[in-house]
């Protein structure tokens, strides 16, 4: 094998050799993933939804309806050739609003998880690496945060922080981190006993360097799997707050508030809330199927020997 480190192909070859077992695990995982039709379905849903989110606002039939146009003379039209999903109480095209809301959902999902993961990983890393009293404090707080079921805590917090999208997202973010904190802490405790960390410390790597270069990458897969499952739940949670009446910012379309609005017009104008709900269901389902598949893929116990 070529010893020249600067040669990229040999570097790649060497990397491949170094990570042969991981690569083969990955191959096996991909095989298993590809064999599972439900996981694939999830992947396709997510890809399709992502495409809709990115391009949606350019091809929807009535883009103005998400920017504040109202057509009071065209209220509550049932689905027809022009308005595939009908119109709402302000005469706006439900199809357009449902499609454009996909983007909002992706954005909020990313932000909520981004913030939650940052907080959770940092606290988890500190707790897991430092140990002792800081660990006790952080983990007890984590336990307490996990004691509150469902959206009780985010609801209270969002209400306290005020109305609108930002407080709602903030509330969800700061109540979502404990899961990640626990995950990272557990992984840290496991990993830090392993040889290569001891090796890295022996050659004089600093504490933080050890954490960021050696330990965190090892917990990454677990975080990715959890995040892929959580994404759908974050979207659901935000929609739930929107449904209750916390965390909406019209005229920006949002599935949760559309469902809440449509509920007033049930059962006559069933289309106002049926379609956003259906879209949300499909998207969350996609992420959950994908996440479930990923978990199988990366779970060492699941691979057949």
């Amino acid at each position: 094998m070529a010893s020249s480190v600067s040669n990229p192909s040999s570097r790649l070859a060497r990397w491949r050799e170094d990570h042969a077992s991981q690569l083969s695990d990955l191959r096996r995982g991909l095989f298993r993933f590809a064999r599972n039709r439900l996981s694939l379905l999830g992947l396709w849903i997510v890809v399709a939804m992502l495409a809709v989110a990115v391009t949606g606002s350019t091809w929807v039939p009535f883009p103005g309806d998400t920017l504040g146009d109202v057509h009071m003379d065209n209220r509550l039209q049932p689905p027809n050739a022009t308005h595939w999903f009908g119109t709402d109480d302000a005469g706006r095209d439900v199809f357009t609003r449902v499609i454009v809301a996909t983007r909002t959902s992706f954005q909020v999902g990313l932000i909520i998880l981004g913030v939650a993961i940052s907080i959770g990983v940092t606290l988890g890393a500190v707790a897991g690496y430092v140990g002792g009293t800081p660990n006790q404090i952080i983990m007890r707080l984590t336990d307490v945060m996990l004691t509150f079921p469902g959206i009780f805590l985010p609801m209270a917090l969002a209400a306290a922080l005020g109305r609108g999208m930002v407080p709602a997202m903030l509330a969800l973010s700061v109540t979502w981190w404990p899961g990640y904190c626990r995950l990272v802490e557990a992984q840290m405790l496991k990993v830090r006993e392993e040889d290569f960390v001891a090796g890295a410390r022996a050659i004089g790597a600093s504490r933080w360097r050890v954490i960021f270069r050696h330990i965190l990458p090892n917990t990454l897969t677990a975080i990715v799997v959890k995040a892929s499952m959580d994404f759908g739940f974050a979207v659901l949670a935000l929609a739930s707050l929107g449904f209750i009446g916390i965390g909406i910012q019209p005229p920006e379309p949002d599935w949760g508030s559309m469902i809440a609005l449509g509920r007033r017009f049930m059962p006559g104008a069933w289309w106002i809330s049926t379609f956003p709900g259906l879209f949300m269901f499909v998207m969350v389902l996609g992420f959950n199927l994908l996440g479930d598949g990923l978990r199988d893929l990366l779970d060492p116990n699941a691979t057949v020997k």
């Binding site: 096996r28 095989f31 298993r32 064999r35 691979t303 057949v304 020997k305």
Partner: protein, 339 residues
């Protein structure tokens, strides 16, 4: 000639896994006669357990798949038996002791419940006494009867105060004791054949000897035929009268213990025996077999040992070597003896 109990002929088995199809058994031949104490030795992953578990058909299918050969037990091919016939075969004719006594007992049932169920099952009475019928007077009598037998069996396998201990849960027993319980269950139906799959590997050294002594005693007392799976040749030498050596899904050599220990013929067997430390082993002469076990997914052509064999020659890779009788009752599958 003693009765032929097990006759495995050219048995081939594949495992379908995500990495492809592993050819785990490749034409295995093995015979066990009544009264034999056969030691099946070989490295981890060579197919010992799969061969043995093929007799009571305990290899999960899928992922396993039999692709050729036959397994005859008392003359009948078990591969063709129905699930119910197999169940009877297992309950009455074959006892199995597994490697890990820690997980061999269901942790949430008492030893009594598990033994009584096993005993009743061996008499085909379990279904009739289970669930709703459990409180019928006849069921209760059957269960009481089974309980008495269970206590007797526990006493026989050396569990002190079995009347009390029988009510305990598995976690209250030590590993050795659990293995005794499992042995008691395995011999409860007075089976024709006892398969012991590395029964001592998971135990402390001191306990290992006790368990082996127990098996040896049972063999003597109740005229048991035993197939002992192990990678420990020393153990075989002490306990068994016959040895079968497996390598990568193939029985490379089999014969009486004396004959094989004295004159090992297959190069693999020789390598294996040289790896054993005895008092005669001189310092610096301890050798193993160089190289590693071949991939079962893409096995080398011909003799699977050829890539590691010091005496390999061109015809080794041409075809699978035939089994050759080199001494009375002593077979070896190697081209060295084909001339």
């Amino acid at each position: 000639m003693r009765e032929l109990l097990v006759d495995i002929k050219a048995l081939s088995l594949e495992m379908v896994t995500l990495d492809g199809v592993a050819r785990v058994l490749n034409g295995v031949n093995l015979t066990i006669h009544r009264g034999d104490l056969v030691g099946l030795v070989g490295e981890t992953g060579c197919g010992k357990s799969v061969t043995a578990m093929s007799i009571p058909q305990l290899v999960p299918q899928p992922p396993a798949r039999y692709s050729g050969g036959e397994v005859r037990f008392l003359g009948e091919n078990v591969l063709e038996k129905s699930e119910e016939e197999l169940r009877r075969l297992r309950s009455r004719h074959i006892g199995v002791v597994f490697q890990d006594p820690m997980t061999g007992l269901n942790p949430v049932f008492s030893v009594e419940q598990q033994m009584v169920d096993a005993l009743l099952s061996k008499q085909d009475l379990l279904a009739a006494t289970a669930w709703g019928r459990r409180w019928l007077p006849s069921s209760r009598m059957q269960r009481r009867h089974a309980q008495e037998r269970a206590i007797a069996l526990l006493r026989r396998v050396g569990i002190p105060e079995p009347e009390k201990r029988i009510h305990a849960y598995p976690h209250e027993f030590s590993g050795g004791m659990r293995q005794r319980v499992l042995i008691a269950m395995a011999i409860a139906g007075r089976p024709d054949l006892l398969i012991a799959d590395e029964p001592t590997t998971a135990l402390d050294v001191s306990v290992q000897a006790q368990i082996l002594r127990l098996i040896a005693e049972l063999v003597r007392e109740i005229d048991l035929t035993v197939l002992l799976i192990t990678h420990n040749i020393g153990l075989v030498a002490q306990l068994c009268n016959r040895i079968a050596v497996m390598y990568a899904g193939h029985v490379v050599e089999s014969g009486p213990v004396r004959s094989i220990l004295r004159e090992p013929q297959h190069p693999y067997t020789r390598g294996l025996l040289q790896a054993i430390v005895t008092e005669k082993t001189r310092r610096g002469t301890l050798q193993g077999v160089p190289g590693s076990v071949p991939s079962l997914y893409e096995p080398p052509p011909g003799c699977r040992f050829a890539p590691r064999c010091r005496e390999a020659r061109p015809q080794c890779t041409a075809a699978l070597p035939r089994s050759i009788q080199t001494a009375p009752d002593h077979q070896v599958a190697c081209v060295l003896y084909e001339e």
